[in-house]
């Protein structure tokens, strides 16, 4: 395993998360969280996604196309994708404590917390101590947003599904640790659905006509991670990039 890969993996997986019973959570008779209970709702009747979540599998972080959708990379993208793998991911931004992209964070197995407040859904990521804002106050996407690591995200409800559109994602981000590339034309559509108390489905569509011949989709399941809290995770070890040399 290369150092770059270890860096991208982030914190030690078997870390001890704190044991704090989440208030207001439905429980079975034995006191365990009832993950099959109905999803909670906000006062306005919309599903409430608040809580700590994680993707149990790291496979989508490693490869967003792990489930085998047809990914038709244009030649320049195929070349760059191959280069990144040949170099053991030495240029992966997260190896230098730079943010993961939004698809990476959706796929990351470290916990994330959603706080759903009126007009704004905030995501706190344990890894990299980073956050993301999704505006749900009805504003449109900006016409010409500044390129940003997290882009600019607005969400709207389609029934019980929150549809989040993101543009303005800076071209330094990788879609996954393997290095699926993208251009400034990338538009990410995430469809968040909470079928029951303990589960979330995150369907991601990658639409980037400068990089892929047609849009492709991945669906990442999240499990609720109850009775705990996010830990303090700071990417402090920024001395290692000098040793990430690739080929």
């Amino acid at each position: 395993m290369t150092l770059a890969f270890l860096c991208a993996l982030g914190g030690p997986l078997p870390a001890q998360w704190t044991n704090y019973p989440t208030p207001g959570i439905p429980r079975t008779k034995d006191g365990k969280p009832n993950l099959a209970a109905p999803a909670p709702r906000m006062a306005d009747g919309k599903p409430d996604f608040s809580g700590i979540w994680r993707a149990l599998s790291g496979k989508y972080l490693e490869n967003l196309a792990a489930d085998g959708p047809q990914v038709s990379m244009l030649p320049w993208a195929q070349k760059l994708y191959q280069q990144r793998q040949d170099n053991f991911g030495k240029d992966r931004p997260s190896g230098r404590c730079l943010p993961h992209g939004i698809t990476d964070f959706d796929a990351h197995f470290t916990p994330k917390k959603i706080i759903q407040s009126p007009g704004l859904l905030a995501m706190l990521f344990e890894s990299y101590h980073s956050f993301r804002q999704i505006f749900t106050d009805g504003r449109p996407l900006p016409k010409n947003p500044d390129a940003a690591w997290f882009g600019y995200s607005v969400g709207k409800w389609e029934g019980d599904t929150l549809v989040v559109n993101t543009i303005g994602i800076n071209e330094q981000t990788w879609l996954d640790d393997r290095g699926h590339p993208h251009s400034d034309a990338l538009r990410v559509t995430e469809r968040f659905r909470r079928p029951d108390f303990g589960h979330m489905q995150v369907q991601i569509t990658i639409d980037d006509p400068k990089t892929y011949a047609k849009p492709w989709t991945a669906t990442i399941p999240w499990d609720l991670f109850p009775d705990t809290e996010l830990l303090d995770w700071v990417c402090e070890n920024n001395k290692d990039p000098a040793h990430m040399v690739g080929k």
């Binding site: 208030p23 730079l98 706080i115 101590h129 940003a148 690591w149 809290e229 830990l231 990417c235």
Partner: protein, 255 residues
């Protein structure tokens, strides 16, 4: 963003070099890179939530450059212990080359509230979150569901924060720090015994007041206070990722 940062640093140096101002003047400082439009910040009463508590949510500009640069220019007679005064002197002589912020590390408390970067307060039942544009692009959680501090918290950059209401003032109590953070860019130190109490009050629609009590018997002989008055931001947080400029670390050599 690199340019903005360079300009910011230049401005900070200008302010740092200015003679110490009277305490009250810190509330009249311009916000870095932000010239309020006429009529800003908006006037009016404090907005309230359904439960009657003040609504603190929104984007805020800290307006506290001098505090961030040289806290001792704003707070008279900081009760600093001799060893800590020596550390401060050494850090000043080193022109801040070891400042954790220079390495994109979290500013800790109280400094995370006084860096030039705006922050947004998100208020939800049982939990208040503060997200920070820069200083490091990070978040803080303040639990308001009545839980106590953990008995033996892991030392962290931002500590463990619990909040409660004292009338219309949110009182945040934080412990469990790692002692690595600096209180200001000059280098006022902290230790693992740091205990910070923030009293946050929305004065009116356009202003917050945050009084920080710094209680760190490891470095100071008695608790002391830093008060800032953030202004409502006309706009959204931008994205500032410190690590993008981290190629500069090797040039921070001090004297």
């Amino acid at each position: 963003m690199y340019l903005a940062c360079a300009v910011g640093l230049a401005l900070m140096w200008t302010w740092a070099a200015a003679p110490a101002a009277a305490q009250d003047d810190i509330f009249a400082q311009p916000v870095l890179g932000f010239i309020p439009k006429p009529g800003w910040p908006p006037a009016g009463p404090v907005p309230r939530l359904a439960d009657g508590k003040p609504d603190l949510s929104g984007p805020w500009a800290p307006n506290a450059l001098r505090v961030n640069n040289n806290t001792d220019s704003q707070v008279k007679d900081i009760p600093i212990q001799p060893w800590a005064a020596e550390v401060l002197k050494q850090r000043r002589a080193g022109i801040g080359k070891d400042d954790p912020e220079g390495f994109c590390l979290p500013p800790g408390l109280p400094r995370t509230n006084t860096t030039p970067f705006p922050f947004r307060i998100v208020q939800s039942p049982g939990l208040i979150v503060i997200i920070y544009e820069g200083g490091a692009h990070l978040w803080r959680q303040i639990f308001t569901d009545g839980r106590p501090h953990p008995k033996d918290p892991n030392p962290t950059w931002l500590g463990d924060s619990i909040g409660s209401w004292d009338g219309d003032t949110l009182v945040i109590d934080s412990v469990g720090f790692n002692g690595k953070s600096w209180i200001d860019a000059a280098g006022l130190p902290t230790t693992e015994s740091l205990h910070v109490i923030e009293r946050i009050r929305r004065i009116d629609r356009g202003h917050l007041e945050i009084e920080h009590t710094i209680d760190d018997p490891g470095a100071y002989t008695k608790p002391w206070k830093i008060t800032i008055r953030p202004m409502l931001l006309d706009g959204e947080l931008m994205e500032y990722i410190c690590q993008e400029n981290n190629a500069d670390v090797k040039h921070l050599v001090g004297k």
